[in-house]
Amino acid sequence: MDIKIRTEELRLSFGKREILKGVTVDVYKNKITGFMGPAGSGKSSLISIMNRMIDFEENATISGRVFIDGEDILDGEIDEVHLRRRVGMVFAVPIPLPRSIFDNIAYGPRLKNKNSGRELRSLVQESLKKAFLWDEVKDRLNSSALKLSGGQQQRLCLARTLALEPEIILLDEPCSGLDPISTAKIEEALNELKKEYTIVLVSNNTKQIARITDYAAFFYMGTLIEYGTTEKVFTNPSERKTEDYIQGKFG
């Protein structure tokens, strides 16, 4: 199995507050890897390092290494703008830009000077289809994205990430504000998408992790407690803490 992302002894602190305390984890290609853990476990911060969105946090100090396809992305020479195209991100709160549905999806491709009408249109269509949103919006691509429902907005955000043609998709609790039906649609989309992409899903919802991930990692207070196939982690966890968390004894 190919390793897509590998972190080595990754440490992160905001000022004096330690968020990650030496995390070493491998993320496999074309799998869905779930990061779970209670609030403050560092799981969201971990993925924001993977596409260097962490750069926008003031006073964040990082040490250790993060490899994507064997290349250290924390290297100062790496172009973080290019990296973010390879490693797309979907946020917890869906945040379409205040423009039309079409323009939201086309935003990324246009930045890359993909402007030719037909090519762009087919890319937008394909991205919306992959995000299971096409049928609901195909007749109103020019209306404002802000008019969509929460679940639709989140799938729009997934679609616009797909339009970047990334290799990796990071999802930071993408369903935390969604109803069960919208959640099911996102999960359905992710299941299809893993054929083409490597997916990292951060979630507080252990049931969701159990449902759709191939590998699961449990974080607690900035430390990776347990990591393995989802089946193993959920049926036969080797750590007491993991078991307690999965059974809902804390979190």
């Binding site: 969105m53 926008f56 195209r85």
Partner: protein, 287 residues
């Protein structure tokens, strides 16, 4: 006990209401005063002859203020040409690039700039800008160009502080979304942040215009006050405000009324600008 507390509450409320309404009263009085003094001449000489008349010779019965209206708009436009790009750039720098510490230092400094009396700006204009224009570009130096530069600097703080607030009110999530889609900082600024803050930025320009068109002292000092429509940016000119300030001291009879008519025109222009600015700001809030 309950009754007493309520009475006291009511008393405070009425007092405050009275004070609040008194500001409206002042506005109302100013309107009545200017209109009652200014309107009669419009009847006597004719609206068209005043607004579109080219000749201002109030002692000889000519009250044409068209050159001044044009001049007022020209200096306002010139001020905008100078102040808007500078002010907007500065606001973008402050909101997007500068660190917290620099922001803490720069914002009060800019507010201080707004507090400098206009006569000081005029003085600096006469001492530095006017000779510069005269020596390097020709003409008398007292000119549209010099006035535009001085007014541009004067509207600078207005443009910055209102644009800055508009830029800062763009949700952080828009920035994140844009960055996550592989946009550079500058791409994010001109594709997402500026369009989102558009109406606020527009409002800052319009309020800056309001300040420029109403400015008097600095303009009198550097504009040259010639009674004609300037044909080049190096020509001197006289604005509506300058006209009132320059002549009111010795004007009598119809001449005096003519200055009030000038004031009426100015008031109308400023009301229109304010209305547009309010409209722009309200649109932003509603969105």
């Amino acid at each position: 006990m309950i009754k007493k507390a309520l009475t006291k509450e009511h008393f405070v409320k009425y007092i405050l209401t009275a004070f609040a309404l008194s500001s409206l009263l002042f506005l109302f009085l100013i309107f009545i005063f200017i209109l009652s003094e200014g309107i009669p001449l419009f009847h006597k000489v004719g609206l068209k002859n005043i607004i579109f008349g080219f000749k201002w010779a109030p002692t000889k019965g000519s009250f044409g203020i068209f050159p001044m209206i044009v001049s007022s708009f020209l200096v306002t436009f010139g001020a905008l040409m100078v102040g808007a790009p500078l002010g907007l750039s500065c606001a973008i720098y402050l909101s997007e690039y500068s660190g917290k510490k620099l922001k803490l230092f720069l914002k009060p400094a800019l507010e201080l700039l707004a507090g400098i009396p206009s006569v000081v700006y005029g003085f600096l204009g006469v001492i530095y800008i006017v000779p510069l224009v005269r020596n390097f570009l020709g003409g008398p130096g007292f000119s549209l160009l010099a006035t535009s530069i001085i007014l541009g600097v004067m509207i600078f703080p207005t443009v910055i502080s209102i644009s800055f607030d508009a830029l800062m009110s763009v949700p952080k999530t828009y920035r994140e979304g844009s960055f996550a889609m592989g946009a550079t900082k500058w791409q994010t600024i001109y594709k997402v942040i500026i369009p989102s803050a558009r109406s606020g930025i527009l409002a800052s320009f319009i309020l800056g215009m309001g300040r420029a068109i109403g400015e008097t002292m600095a303009v009198i000092m550097v504009a040259g006050n010639a009674l004609r429509i300037p044909t080049s940016i190096l020509d001197p000119l006289r604005t509506l405000t300058s006209n009132i300030a320059l002549e009111l001291a010795y004007a009598t009879g119809d001449h005096r009324l003519g200055l009030f008519s000038t004031g009426v025109v100015l008031l109308v222009i400023i009301m229109i600008l304010n209305y547009i600015a309010t409209f722009a700001i309200r649109r932003r809030v509603l969105k």
